[in-house]
């Protein structure tokens, strides 16, 4: 990075030269950048165990300039009525912009100092950095604990929730860290102080910006409140930058992504940044918060655009937006209208819907024509059909049981119909002649009377004769229909 090189070179040359150059009003921003780079350079030297006495000096000189100005302005309570046509020309606006930059820079600075403290304190209490995440909290805790081994003597009640204090004390008793040497301890404590000072000055800067927000961006502060408006402006880098952003970006400005390695981010669903802290958002029920955040982001972007062009210095459009938002959220919450009973449809206006589906098909299967029946319905050309009672009596078999079809067997099921005597005799003969399951006393040879080999022909015993005899001219045939007159 070019600036880092410059800062190293400046280190080598002379610091005072740079001070003289940049000692102008507009150079405040430049000074702050320099300050950051100096701190970075210093911290690198710190890492090599060099004390940060140099950076302390830096801090006190340069950056207190801005702090002084801020405090002056806070005390004076300027009204700044002569705004001029363009916002950017206003000196107070410039100060606000610088303060925004400064607050971002201070935040980065705090992170750097935090890393430094962590590095040094690892020797003593390694686990503390994972238990206490917030940099300022960490600095306070480190300051309190110092070189103490026994954590029951240390009172952390006002800094942390009691659950975390408990975890800390338990971990402290089992930690493998050793007490720090005196000089390292000193450095650590100084770094903690530095971090806390940075934090307090950042708070002051934000306070100042907040108080002036009403004159800088009245519409935006009417919707989201001056604190959040200041933070948004700060993160965006100015009012015009904020106005140029699309609303979806404004929604996630300030989102702290804490994806600890190894933990799933599927459950961390809130995609709201600074807007989460607005009154509107806090007062909506949790179910509607996603929609509300989008709505607030959209309207606040519109308000920021109005403010950037100074279209409405009074802030009435901001209030109108706020009212609109409130009304919309209320409308979402009202219950749906009660259902009235439907009137009956006109008779015969809707044709009957024939439904299909698996259930209907299964039901139809019970009455469907089976394959067996289909085969029985067809007949071969030229060959007389076999029938259940022979000679065209009884049910025809059609293609059933033919040599060609190798699937189905003809099984004789006694029908429930009332059959007359002649038919019954025929049926019985058939049964004996062709049935596969007959009484065990008959031998298989009897089933082929045409062959002529019969050991014991049960048909003759019954007086049925051989199967080949025709019924019409049969000797054993009787009158089929005998009616009593």
């Amino acid at each position: 990075m070019a600036t880092l090189e410059d800062s190293f070179l400046a280190d080598l040359d002379e610091l005072s030269d740079n001070e003289a150059e940049l000692d102008e009003n507009n150079g405040d921003v430049g000074k702050e950048e320099e300050d950051v780079d100096m701190d970075m350079a210093d911290l690198e030297t710190l890492n090599y165990d060099d004390l940060d006495s140099v950076s302390k000096l830096q801090k006190s000189q340069r950056y207190t300039d801005i702090m002084q100005k801020v405090e002056e302005a806070l005390r004076k309570d300027l009204d700044g009525s002569d705004k001029g046509t363009v916002l950017e020309d206003d000196p107070e606006y410039k100060l606000i912009v610088e303060c925004n930059q400064l607050s971002v820079d201070i935040e980065n600075e705090i992170v750097i100092v935090h890393n430094f403290i962590k590095d040094k304190y690892k020797l003593k209490f390694q686990e503390l950095e994972s238990l206490v995440n917030h940099p300022i909290d960490y600095a306070c805790v480190v300051k309190r604990i110092g070189n103490e081994t026994d954590l029951t003597l240390v009172d952390l009640a006002d800094l942390l929730p009691s659950a975390i204090i408990m975890v800390i004390s338990v971990t402290a008793s089992t930690t493998k860290g050793t007490a720090l040497p005196e000089d390292v301890l000193q450095k650590v404590l100084e770094a903690c102080d530095r971090a806390l000072d940075l934090d307090s000055s950042r708070k002051k800067v934000l306070e100042f910006v907040e108080s002036k927000m009403g004159s800088i961006a009245p519409n935006l502060s009417a919707i989201v409140g001056s604190a959040v408006a200041a933070k948004l402006m700060g993160t965006a880098g100015g009012l015009s930058a904020l106005a140029k952003m699309p609303a979806c970006n404004v929604q996630v400005l300030g989102l702290k992504r804490k994806n600890l390695a190894g933990f799933s981010s599927a459950t961390s669903q809130s995609r709201v940044g600074f807007l989460e802290q607005t009154e509107i958002f806090q007062s909506t029920p949790p179910g509607l918060r996603a929609r509300a955040s989008r709505l607030v982001a959209a309207k606040s972007t519109l308000a920021a655009r109005v403010d950037a062009t100074r279209g409405d210095p009074t802030g009435t459009s901001g209030k109108a937006f706020r009212e609109e938002i409130r009304k919309k959220i209320e409308k979402w919450q009202e219950p749906p209208p009660a259902r009235q009973p439907k009137p009956l449809p006109v008779p015969d206006s809707e044709p009957k819907k024939r439904r299909g589906g698996r259930r209907l098909r299964k039901m139809k299967e019970r009455y469907a024509v089976t394959d067996m029946r289909k085969l029985a319905n067809r007949m071969a050309f030229g060959t007389p059909e076999e029938s259940s009672l022979g000679d065209g009596l009884g049910e025809g078999y059609g293609m059933l049981g033919q040599a060609g079809s190798n699937r189905l067997r003809v099984s004789s099921v006694p029908s429930k119909l009332k059959i007359n005597a002649k038919v019954a005799k025929k049926l019985k003969e058939r049964q004996y002649a062709g049935g596969a399951t007959t009484s065990g006393l008959t031998s298989s040879l009897a089933f082929t009377p045409v062959q002529g080999i019969e050991l014991c022909n049960p048909q003759q015993a019954l007086g049925l004769g051989s199967g080949t005899q025709s019924t019409y001219f049969s000797e054993s045939g009787t009158f089929s229909k005998l009616k009593k007159i």
Binding site: P343, L344, P347
Partner: protein, 151 residues
């Protein structure tokens, strides 16, 4: 007296409503609002007016006004409440097993009976019939005696 249903008192109103109801069964109840059987009948009508609203229209005719007496005489209404059904300005008859097929005398026992009668009339009328069979079982049909020249 039902506030949901229109009450007609003038001859022009009755004419207009008979003329203007197109492709819907028009149910005209002739009766008095003070009579308790009429009140019962009116309640059933009021409850079902929304259900049959797609194919029927219901109106009440107050029998005490003078202009309506013409109709009372024409339809030969003697007992109240009497309900007369029209479809496309044709008078629809209803064979319910009673002596008089031109009207329904008395109150309906349940809401479903009334809806069934209106549906039967609608179906018959759409087919082109002028008289339909009443689908209400005989135990729920109000019985009455007709006097013919005091016989």
């Amino acid at each position: 007296m039902s506030y949901l249903l229109k009450t007609l008192t003038k001859k022009e109103e009755i004419d207009r409503i008979i003329r203007d109801t197109i492709d819907e069964v028009l149910v005209l109840r002739f009766g008095r609002c003070s009579d308790d059987v009429c009140l019962q009948h009116d309640e059933i009508l009021a409850k079902s007016v929304r259900d049959v609203s797609k194919f029927a229209k219901v109106a009440l005719v107050d029998v005490d006004s003078e202009e309506v007496q013409v109709y009372v005489k024409y339809f030969d209404i003697t007992l109240f409440p009497s309900t007369i059904f029209f479809f496309n300005a044709h008078h629809m008859k209803l064979d319910s097993g009673t002596a008089d097929h031109t009207k329904w005398v008395g109150a309906f026992h349940i809401k479903q009976d009334f809806i069934d009668v209106v549906e039967a009339i609608y179906r018959g009328a759409m087919k082109g019939k002028l008289i339909v069979q009443c689908p209400v079982p005989p135990e729920r049909i109000p019985k009455y005696q007709l006097l013919y020249k005091d016989v």
